[in-house]
Symmetry: C2
Subunit: 403 residues, 2 copies
């Protein structure tokens, strides 16, 4: 498996673009993105489990109910959520794509991200659609920029791999830095691949993957109303279609996981206001589900996140978060280490503190990627969760996001 | 029911004191508190549900197992948690109280609050015990100060009420501004009363009360390892002993609830770094438990808390938090209003936004006590939760608390 350039345009037969159409006030920010495939694709999606769902999610569910889609349109700057005419607008967006591309509206996946509860007008979208479609090409970067909100960096990734002797590619763009605590799905992630795979197997692969990838990311514990991960697979790589479990399916799962894990780390690291990526690796837990509860609880603790911002080796907050995680655990066996490129520091053994150098701790915790290693020393449960530190800038960004 | 002065010393037969013994470095901060009753009391406690429990909790459970206690000793500056010799130290604290007061060590409730995982020495406590006991008197304030950590104000309250013709009193001190998301109990709250009530009925009253009081407070979503609420009732008011349900029990429940609700509001308002008290009142929910989930979810949302800091009427974040609360809810019926002493503002009707004046919103949300009124317009479920805004200072305080 090799990392390559090109994001969602890396796989055969995919084009993309992103433009500024006027939903966002800042004219230097793209706010409308489009991804299209030359041919119809197997499509799989996972969505937020928030009861309050963005209208685009309702529309997308309808459009991919048959397992197929050919395009993804997404705006930033407005979530199109809690609006009385939300579904009409979301359908309208698909209709506009259809008008200019010839792709049936019911083969368009639609997504929106931004402020909740502000009416979204079709006008700027209609006005920008021509430029958006005309510029379709190897422009994954523009699409990645078009879905950004408070993201500070665009997020693209692509890999190449071999399936039954055929070269295959998988690429993705993603956004999301706040209101991030995915449950079932997360933020907006659009993945493209030229692999040939049935809709059912594609959905199976995605649903299995998100449990260990996006569902293990938390920036602030808020599960968004608009989370969505969508994969389009157009089959142009020419491999034998994956229609059941087996070696090819496992290779595809592995490729998909390379893409999703890469985005998890980058989304956490670019968390609103974040200065540090926190990667919590739990091993030796009573079960996998216990390990997941523990890893997620640590990564979500405001107190621990603030301590990491201050490079303070306050491991007591780690123990505290393990204690309220809701997982069956023997707290007298817990070992905790902090690790970064500056070294590894043991701070807790058997649930009690051990002496350590504060100077060494400061050095290790001042790096921008910190691993929190938890060994429960019990059974074989393992899990990884990704998060970020809690900073002044998180408060600043969210204290005045809407206005 | 009338508010009176005196805190935990207001009820007949209770004395208190607080001193600086040297656990905290800052010599102007008291760090050791003692409350004693002239006679043995019915005692009831509720504790944190965190699996990682402070050693004082284990010791206190043992000491009140028979339903009686006569004194409460508490230090700040060190949580005595995750220390190999923690129980020995906590028993040692009770022994020191016993030596100087003659009260049996097994009738002493012990509590600690502060940093987790740092060894606690008995030396400063032993050195300060003489001064602590000698100064016992009408010093509820000193005791309230002795249990403070990052609290900015001391928290005392007392009420008088009549039971079967006898004047009764109930008083309390409390602390807790961070690591606050009680589950079953909370922070440290010590309540005294001269009511005559059996240990069983006292425990029943306390356990019922905390479900709607302290368990509905959240500062940061972190459930502490050392949360404890303890009530001592010494019977000196001379009322007929409350030994079963009935009018007297209900009067006592009401008095207890006046004290606990008062402390809930003050603890939330003094939340670490907080500039505002947030009081979320949910009505019309499908059930009481649904109302509680919804109220607590809103009060815990980092995004909503940051918006309140910025006086930003971002009600979409309220809807979002309702959506992931885990409560059965019809999201198309939700009404949301923001209220403060500057007025009331309707922002959402039937789950969709309605136009409102941003200027008016700014005015209302700039007050230091904000009510978030949620009407689910469904059935009769009601609940109130208390929290605070998320500010730069929360990050500052917790980014460098330990060192």
């Amino acid at each position: 498996m090799k990392k390559i350039e090109g994001g969602v345009c890396a796989p055969e037969g995919f084009k993309a673009n992103g433009v500024h159409c006027g939903i966002r006030k800042n004219k230097t920010k793209r706010d409308l993105a489009l991804i299209v495939s030359d041919v119809r694709c197997s499509a799989a999606c996972v969505y937020t489990q928030n009861l309050v769902k963005g209208a685009p999610i309702t529309v997308t569910k309808r459009h991919v109910a048959d397992g197929y889609a050919q395009a993804i349109v997404c705006n930033s700057g407005n979530a199109n959520t809690c609006n009385a005419n939300g579904e009409e607008i979301a359908e309208g967006m698909c209709g506009l794509v259809s008008d200019k591309t010839g792709i049936p509206a019911e083969d368009v996946v639609v997504a929106s991200t931004g402020v909740i509860g502000q009416p979204l007008s079709l006008e700027p979208i209609a006005a920008g659609m021509d430029e958006l479609v005309k510029g379709l090409g190897d422009n994954s970067l523009f699409a990645a920029q078009g879905i950004m909100t408070t993201d500070t960096v665009d997020k693209q990734i692509a890999y190449t791999f071999t399936l039954g002797g055929k070269e295959c590619k998988i690429g993705a763009i993603g956004k999301g830095v706040g209101m991030i605590n995915p449950n079932m799905a997360t933020m907006l992630i659009f993945i493209t691949t030229d692999v040939s795979i049935s809709p059912a197997m594609l959905q199976k692969a995605l649903s299995a993957d998100v449990k260990d990838s996006f569902n293990m990311v938390s920036v602030d514990g808020d599960t968004s109303t608009n989370d969505m991960v969508c994969v389009l697979a157009n089959g142009l790589a020419g491999n034998d279609c994956i229609e059941e479990n087996g070696k090819d399916y496992l290779i595809f799962r592995k490729a998909l996981n390379k893409v999703t894990t890469n985005l998890c780390r980058r989304i956490a690291k670019d968390g609103e206001g974040a200065t540090k990526l926190l990667e919590c690796k739990v091993s030796g837990a009573k079960s996998k589900s216990a390990a997941k509860l523990i890893a997620k609880s640590i990564i979500k603790s405001s107190l621990f996140k603030a301590a990491m911002f201050g490079a303070d080796a306050n491991w007591g907050r780690v123990l505290c978060a393990i204690g309220y995680a809701g997982a069956d655990a023997d707290i007298t066996k817990i070992d905790v280490d902090f690790k970064s490129k500056a070294g590894t520091l043991a701070v807790c053994r058997g649930g009690s503190g051990i002496p350590f150098s504060e100077e060494e701790a400061k050095k290790i915790l001042s790096c921008d990627e910190i691993e929190i290693l938890i060994n429960m020393n019990d059974r074989g449960g393992r899990a990884t969760a990704w998060g970020c530190d809690l900073t002044y800038d998180y408060v600043k960004i969210n204290g005045d996001y809407r206005t």
